[in-house]
Amino acid sequence: MIELHDIWKEYQINTEEKFIALKGITLKVDAGEFVAITGPSGCGKSTCMQILGLLDKPTKGKVIIGKREAENLSDNELSRYRNEYIGFVFQQFNLINKLTILENVLVPTLYTRKKLTYNPKEYGAYLLERFGLTEKSKSYPNKISGGQQQRVAIARSLIMKPEFILADEPTGNLDTKTGDEIMRLFTELNTQDKITIVVVTHESDIAARAQRQIKMKDGQIFES
């Protein structure tokens, strides 16, 4: 469970002007949900996801992850939460180009302090097999298609067996058909693997695939 409570986020543009990206957001994502946060560009949905993913801190308000308030967590603990509980999928895929596909999938396991109950390499290989990427495991990111890169990113988000996957415009750089496959994958992960999924998107047909839609406009939620 992740909860945002009266979250405000302000960006200082210059000494006099500031931009208010979030104006008192309150929302709750329960375990096992598949939620889409949607709205036009600039509505604050990405900022909202970054705060949900503990990548950024709000100017004001409470973020509750599990039972703890994120404000009280040190930088190292935030890193640990991101590592163990949250899987990220980005619009730009954000794979590390000099690492092979399998090495990319394994990056989160480098940084964990948790004793893993499974062999990460075997599990990584299994995830790649599941997503039809076994043949590419020794390839490099710039040698494979966008759809394949996004599936690698999803495999990477799953390697730590997280509770949540946060995806920021995961289909934004893909064609409709490939985007559709990615969304099917999220649905499968949600129903079969019981992973909580939050997708941020501006496309209404993508958002429609989620169980619940949170609609945002001008830094506020107007429908959830």
Partner: protein
């Protein structure tokens, strides 16, 4: 452990991707380490060669100089006032009579030129007694050394050092019986000395000397005075007693300040300390190039951090802590400078092996440890600033960075 290994390997991979850049960056460290190790190696070689020369002269030797050569055990500038007092044949005879002394050998040296076999060579001519060959441990290559009789007869004979014989007659063996001309006087070569193999740096270059009997030398030295005498003590453990006896003998004719008796070990110590100072100054100068190399590494690490800000952000999002990022860049910087350091040391080994045939330079463990320690320290020091910059970025700012 696995994590450090992975980071290390990923750093290496980054280098192989930027071969030219890596090599150029390491070049700074390479040159610095190379010069430090080489200067230390040559300094050690010099010290060894000086010590070897002194040791070949044997113990229990004293050298008599005119004037005050040493003050407080160190050499005075200017080399004493040789113009005031020079020793006569009578002084030497007086010293020879002392029971404490085994040998008292007069010596005067003259830098001149020798003409022979159609060639002209600069040479140091030593005018001394027959015993000098024994005292200096010279071996005979060809012919014979001159004798006391040669000296008494003022025979126009000369004994050639190995190198000068080779220079004049191509083969030292060819010199035997040949005539050489020094300052209009013709001398006959009666022997050549085996290669001594010293000289060049500081010590006397015996291989390039021509030795003639001192009385024959009166042609060149008409006032019959000597600028030094080599005194060999009968019992090396009674050096002080011998010095007292010598002083008493000389004080009959000279004032106390007119002469000095120097132990070989004093000269050795003074020469070694001069070269010690020289080589530490040179090492210090070479160390500056290590710092310059370090700045090069810092520059490259800054570029590397800026190029990879997005990657840093991604790693942070996936759970890397600040310390993890710091470590990654630090290991890369240290690897880079150690790489340069190791290349520098290898090159130094090659160069030292190359010069070994004519100069006894050698690399000791300390200088290798120093060079490696300094180069990895440079990696840490100059890597830590860029690495800190990288680790302090907030993950989301870093990911958004283009």
């Amino acid at each position: 452990m696995y994590y450090l290994l992975t980071i290390f390997l990923s750093g290496l991979e980054d280098f192989s991707r930027n071969k030219v850049r890596t090599l150029l960056t390491s070049l700074g460290i390479l040159i610095g380490v190379l010069s430090v190790v080489l200067i230390i190696a040559f300094g050690l070689g010099l010290k060894k060669s000086i010590n070897d020369q002194f040791e070949s002269l044997g113990s229990g030797q004293l050298i008599l100089f005119p004037g005050q050569v040493l003050s407080n055990g160190r050499f005075k500038g200017g080399g004493g006032n040789q113009a005031v007092t020079r020793f006569s044949e009578k002084d030497i005879e007086n010293l020879k009579r002392l029971k404490e002394l085994k040998y008292a050998i007069p010596s005067v040296q003259r830098s001149t030129t020798v003409i022979a076999n159609g060639k002209t060579e600069p040479v140091d001519m030593v005018m001394s007694a027959a015993d000098v060959f024994v005292v200096r441990n010279f071996g005979l290559e060809m012919g014979r050394f001159f004798t006391q009789q040669d000296d008494q007869r003022r025979a126009k004979v000369a004994v050639l050092g190995y190198e000068i014989a080779r220079k004049l007659f191509d083969e030292p063996g060819n010199a035997l019986g040949k005539k050489i001309k020094i300052e209009q006087q013709t001398l006959t070569v009666i022997g050549t000395v085996k290669k001594v193999g010293s000289g060049g740096f500081g010590g006397p270059d015996y291989d390039n000397n021509i030795t003639i009997p001192f009385r024959t030398g009166y042609i060149y030295n008409p006032d019959k005075k000597f600028s030094a005498a080599v005194l060999v003590v009968r019992d090396p453990t009674k050096l002080e007693a011998a010095k007292t006896a010598i002083t008493q003998t000389l004080e009959r004719d000279y004032k106390k300040d007119d002469f000095s008796i120097v132990e070989l070990s004093q000269i050795q110590g003074a020469v070694t300390s001069i070269f010690g100072i020289l080589s530490s100054v040179l090492t210090g100068i070479a160390a500056i190039s290590l710092i310059v190399g370090g700045v090069g590494i810092m520059n490259i690490m800054y570029v590397s951090v800026s190029e990879r800000i997005k990657e840093i952000g991604v790693r942070r999002a996936l759970g890397a802590r600040r310390a993890d990022i710091l470590w990654q860049f630090l290991i890369e910087a240290v690897t880079l400078s150690l790489f340069g350091g190791l290349l520098g040391i290898s090159l130094a080994f090659l160069i030292v092996a190359g010069v070994q045939s004519f100069f006894p330079a050698y690399i000791n463990v300390q200088s290798v440890a120093l060079a490696l320690g300094v180069s990895s320290l440079i990696g840490v020091i100059f890597g830590v600033f860029p690495a800190r910059k990288a680790s302090l970025l907030s993950p989301i700012e870093a990911i958004r960075y283009e």
